[in-house]
């Protein structure tokens, strides 16, 4: 029914013939991309992996220590705190970032007077500098900030958004979602344009309401995009750094309780006396976990498809 087959599994036979027509060309198409990502991302990462088995410092070449760094990591309480926070972040942020930007995209999709302005305005959080964004949110959520002032006037009392570890993490998530709205909105906008109008109209004629049309037409047609947004936002959420850093401070909250894995990598590995070896081990763990997340999402998608 849907013409948007994702995989070779459902392709018409003629299409397969097209693909075998020019056997050499796929690699011609792929070479530039593979060269760049291979040469400048994957190849250097090999040295990170090698480093993770040494006790290297920023300026000092390391000695081989076997799995020492990985062993240390398992006994490092901060690592587990970081892992917990990063996972909590993924769980908290991803559902919102899959749904809300889609709704926003549908809100601005319609051509009504002034819509260009609104679209550009909704995109500003994406382009605004993180530091500025951090400042404004800290100001809003501060003990003497706007939101607490409002809460006090309605008799609710102050809420320690920026002093309680869990509320800090939640506040950071709010900023992530807020900044992600515009970002994922435009991915959805581009995809929404692909939903054949005829389908909507057919539905409308059937008398289907907005909600039903959304569920029966838009969502199925955008499923692959939603999966992609889910995967991207999951990876980004797992690797969150700036928002937590700006809200919870360089130590990652009171006593480091809001530290995320990437913050830990930064704390451990930066500076001229950074422990590069240990930080590399942490990076490898981050890489493996995000790869797992990504493959999990893509696999789940394919299974549903079949």
């Amino acid at each position: 029914m849907q013409p948007t087959a994702q995989d070779g599994l459902r392709m018409p036979r003629t299409v397969r013939r097209i693909r075998t027509h020019l056997p050499s060309s796929p690699w011609l198409f792929l070479t530039p991309g593979l060269l760049i990502v291979g040469g400048f991302s994957l190849y250097p990462f090999v040295s990170t992996v090698v480093n993770s088995f040494t006790d290297a410092r920023t300026l000092i070449k390391g000695r081989f220590v076997g799995g020492g760094n990985y062993q240390e990591l398992i006994h490092d309480a901060m690592f587990w705190t970081g892992l917990r926070n990063s996972l909590v972040y993924v769980l908290g942020v991803v559902p919102l970032l899959v749904i809300l930007p889609l709704l926003l995209a549908m809100l601005v999709q319609r051509q009504i007077p002034g819509i260009t302005f609104f679209r550009a305005a909704f995109y500003t959080p994406v382009v605004a500098s993180v530091v500025v964004v951090g400042l404004i949110w800290v100001w809003l959520l501060d003990d003497r900030g706007l939101i607490n002032a409002l809460l006090e006037t309605v008799g609710f009392g102050k809420v320690g958004f920026l002093s309680d570890p869990w509320l800090l993490l939640l506040s950071a998530m709010a900023v992530t979602v807020w900044k992600g709205l515009g970002y994922y909105m435009i991915i959805y906008l581009a995809a929404l344009a692909n939903v054949p109008r005829e389908l909507h109209e057919a539905c409308a004629v059937d008398g289907a309401g907005v909600v039903r049309r959304f569920l029966t037409v838009t969502v199925p047609a955008l499923r692959s995009t939603m999966v992609l947004v889910g995967a991207l936002s999951a990876v980004n959420a797992f690797k969150v750094f700036s928002e937590v850093y700006l809200m919870a401070g360089p130590t990652g909250g009171p006593g480091g309780e809001d530290t995320t894995l990437v913050m830990l990598v930064q704390q451990v590995g930066t500076g001229l006396s950074g422990r590069v070896g240990y930080a590399a081990a942490l990076s490898v763990v981050v890489f493996v976990i995000t790869l797992g997340l990504m493959l999990l999402v893509l696999r789940a998608n394919r299974r549903e498809d079949a």
Binding site: P32, L189, A190, A191, A193
Partner: protein, 296 residues
């Protein structure tokens, strides 16, 4: 819901008619605007604050509580001040060069790779896909120094090409393009194939025009990525004459005293091109597959 398509028909009369279209009651439109305004308040706040700080004259209390959004002594002096302290136009030009090149390389490279991954069948396709996924996941921070050493071996340190190269085909953009191509109906290309078009012709004439929306997204992400990047250009470049805007604007954070107004003005200068770029490209989001593909 898909009224956006109408824009491309260029039918002014129809567009003018739209708000009052029979099927859409007025209250719905009103609701839509109310929603838009609510989201607007939520999203542009920070930017207004920054804009307002950048327009405040000396002697105004920028830390006042509660803060005021309206500058007491409106001035554009801070913008002139930025240009006085740093060669802001030279920096902007460098940034523009890198960002424009980044847009071209990303659109071309990601489209090519994405097309192959989505529309061609060959041994190693899955592996190629996994390679891109893995590349996307490599923590950039952990490889920066190794990247710098590579650049030095290529004699590209302290050049704008060195700034451009590592991100000139982003793995995420490849995945975005793959997703877009995968969504195209096969029938279209089939027709072209019957007409005897080869893979290149099908890619350039049929597939590419059908994914303009996603190309625009890639263009925006690529431009923004290059424009905002700080640490990598800082590490690659040594001569101030080659600095990009983000690096250069950092000089506004004085060693001994921060002038928040100048910093704010700098931020506004840095952000404006991005918003303009977005405003220009956004119409492409509404010209997707419906057009070229179905017609063809």
């Amino acid at each position: 819901m898909t009224a956006g398509h109408r824009e491309r028909h260029g039918d002014r009369a129809e567009r003018r008619r739209m708000p009052g279209r029979g099927r859409t009651p007025r209250w719905r439109l009103l609701l839509r605007y109310l929603l838009l305004l609510a989201v607007l308040a939520l999203t542009v706040g920070p930017f207004l604050w920054q804009l307002s700080t950048s327009l405040k004259g000396p002697g105004e209390d920028i830390y006042r509580y509660p803060p005021s959004l309206i500058p007491g002594h409106l001035t554009f002096g801070n913008y002139a001040g930025v240009a006085e302290i740093i060669p802001v136009w030279d920096f902007a030009l460098n940034s523009l060069k890198v960002a424009a090149a980044n847009v071209l390389t990303n659109c071309a490279g990601a489209a090519l790779a994405g097309y192959a991954l989505a529309r061609m069948r060959f041994r190693g396709r899955r592996t190629a896909l996994v390679v891109f996924i893995m590349a996307m996941l490599v923590p950039v921070e952990s490889i920066m120094i190794a990247q710098f050493v590579t650049m030095r071996e290529l004699q590209l340190n302290n050049t704008l090409i060195g700034v451009l190269l590592p991100a000139c085909i982003g793995a995420m953009n490849v995945l975005l393009m793959r997703n877009a191509f995968a969504g195209l109906p096969y029938e279209v290309e089939e027709a072209a194939f019957v007409d005897g078009a080869n893979a290149w012709q099908r890619f350039v004439r049929i597939a590419l025009p059908s994914v303009k929306g996603t190309l625009a997204v890639v263009a925006i992400f690529a431009f923004m990525g290059a424009w905002d990047d700080f640490l990598w250009p800082l590490i690659v470049l040594s001569d101030q004459s080659k600095f990009t805007l983000t690096v250069g604007l950092n000089f506004l954070h004085g060693t001994f005293a921060d002038n928040q107004r100048l910093v704010a003005a700098g931020t506004v200068i840095a952000v404006l091109p991005l918003i303009v770029m977005f405003a220009c490209l956004q119409r492409y989001f509404f010209r997707g597959v419906g057009e070229g593909a179905v017609k063809g």
